[in-house]
Amino acid sequence: MANTRPTASSHNRRLFHSRIFRLALIYLCLFTASVLGLLGFIYWSATESVTRQIDSTIDAEITGLAEQYNQRGLVGLIQAIERRAGKAGETRGLYILADKAFEPLAGNLSRWPDELPDQEGWVTFRLEYPDDDGGSANFGRARVFDLGKGIHLLVGHDIQERSRIASSIRGTLIWSVVVTIGVSLVGGILMSRSLLRQIDTINETSREIMAGDMSRRIPIGKRGDEIDEVAGNLNAMLDQIERLLAGMSEISDNIAHDLRTPISRLRTGLESALIGQPDPEGYREAVRKAIEEADNILKTFNALLSIAQAEAGATEAQFESVDLDALLQDVSELYEPLAEEQDIKLKLDLAQSARLDGDRNLLFQAVANLVDNALKFSPKNSVVTISLLGGLEDNQKPDISKIVVADQGPGIPDQSDRKRVLERFHRLEASRSTPGNGLGLSLVAAVAKLHGGTLELDDNAPGLRATLSLPQS
């Protein structure tokens, strides 16, 4: 078994090829995509809202400055600009008033930016000074106006804030994706590993069973998850297979034992007739004996076949609605003369009627076997009772019909013997001398099983009480 156990590298290869790992990968891709989408949207809406806020601040300042210009002219405007530029450290406002040649007249920018504004006058431009953190270049956003007479005004705001928010969101985004991928990958591997381990256990057990160890079973976890359920079902199936195999080997043992004896008896009889050279009548007698022996062998064989068929459930297709009281009447009527001949009273007690879905021939055979058995072991002047009971005493299962065949013979005193007589070919030592092949009761048990019922043997004090319990359909 050791060479079929997977090595570490093949184990890993199997891990990456496993279905659960593929599923984990697909899940990972979808999850990453959704994280990216979500954070992208947050990034976009955050920067957009900051931009809008800056724009509205700029617009407000412009309105203020326009008022100054209208009321106090250019001088007022320059004063206002200088005043505001003085406070630019807090407000982060950007102002420049320039002449015809774009030379600065006032404001806190050293020169007019080179970048060209759009149609509405908005412009984003590079600032001369670096941002506070000493990082990369800083940018400003502003609106430009032509005040006429060659005077140009630019009012703006630096957008360091916006960049900071954007870059922090970008950082978050990258980290989230990295963490997501990492966690999912590790999770996927762990999940696949644990599932693979469970499946490997199943595989290993199956291989050991295939190698011949039928007693092996798959260990079942305590969680009761679907894998445990699969394992449980497989184990149940294995139990059934093992039972069938055991039955099969038992039956072949029994065939070997119980058919070999009559066949060799047949052979010996024929051989001795051949050696002895008897007269024609002697030959005739030998042949007759041989045929009788062969008939017995066939009978045993047919009984074995019926048991096998009933046990395999092969005849289930033949199920029809069976009238149990009519069937019992037929059995009783068939055996009544035989009972009378043996001075036994055969009593039929039909307390109620019952129907069930079943194989009427097999059911008839089963009841006939029970009656046959009862008659075989009953003393003279005793009573054999065939009765049909509903499950009335047993309120738990009201839809069970019980066919009881009770005799007043010796019974089977030993509890363990009662179980053993249901086995094929088992004949109690005491009954060896009576005719029969030891298959009668095991056929009854097989028929009961085919119909989902049971056969129980109890003490009838004195005698044997055989109860065939059959569920109604």
């Binding site: 047919n302 033949q318 076997n369 029969g436």
Partner: protein, 225 residues
């Protein structure tokens, strides 16, 4: 009487053919399904014995083909498939009887004879008669030598079956199938007791005995020749 055997096992067909020939039948053997069907269609046989599992064409198809061609040759299936469902399938396809292998030749012979002497017309008979034993099926009355004999319903059916097959050997299995209507293997000879009861009623006070036991085969109801 000509009988066709379609059977691929040479030993079985030789054994059946030998037995039937000794009983005075003319026997032809076909060893595969196709040959068998051709023979059954082109020649007139009084009866065919057909195996279920045959090379080239299986027994069921042969019988179905024959029945579709309006050939009403009586057919006995001979098969190792002994389940009730197999039997039902065989009879539904148009077979007249079904015998499971391994079988006793006496059983086969009894069934062959029963089929061959089946009344050609299905006219309803109201009276059966064997020697001085008479059965009125309408009045359900039995008389022998003018004396009325009282029978239980099952005994009546048993006697009716025997009378319908008067002169032939009737096996225990045939009785179980046709009188009791169950397919099963009795462990003891329950049938024998029923027969001896019947014998008590119809033979005891009369001469000669009509109901005979045929050793190793079954029973036969027949009058003195």
């Amino acid at each position: 009487m000509r009988i066709l055997i379609i059977e691929d096992d040479g030993q079985t067909s030789a054994y059946v053919s030998k037995g039937l020939t000794e009983c005075g039948y003319l026997v032809d053997i076909a060893s595969n399904g196709k040959e068998g069907l051709v023979r059954a269609v082109s020649e007139d046989y009084d009866l065919a014995i057909i195996d279920r599992m045959l090379p080239e064409l299986d027994g069921l198809s042969i019988v179905e083909t024959l029945r579709r061609a309006n050939k009403d040759t009586p057919i006995i299936f001979l098969s190792a498939l002994g389940g009730v469902s197999d039997r039902v399938k065989g009879l539904r396809s148009g077979g007249d009887d079904y015998l499971v292998k391994p079988f006793a030749f006496s059983e086969l012979l009894a069934r062959v004879e029963a089929l061959l002497r089946r009344p050609a017309s299905r006219a309803v008979e109201t009276n059966l008669r064997v020697a001085d034993l008479e059965m009125n099926l309408l009045a359900r009355q039995i008389t022998r030598c003018g004396q009325t004999i009282e029978l239980q319903p099952r005994e009546f059916r048993l006697l009716e079956y025997l009378m319908r097959h008067a002169g032939q050997v009737v096996t225990r299995t045939m009785l179980l199938e046709n009188v009791w209507d169950y397919l099963f293997d009795p462990q003891t000879n329950v049938i024998d007791v029923h027969i001896s009861r019947l014998r008590q009623k119809i033979d005891k006070n009369f001469e000669p005995a009509l109901l005979h036991t045929v050793r190793g085969a079954g029973y036969s109801l027949r009058g003195p020749d």
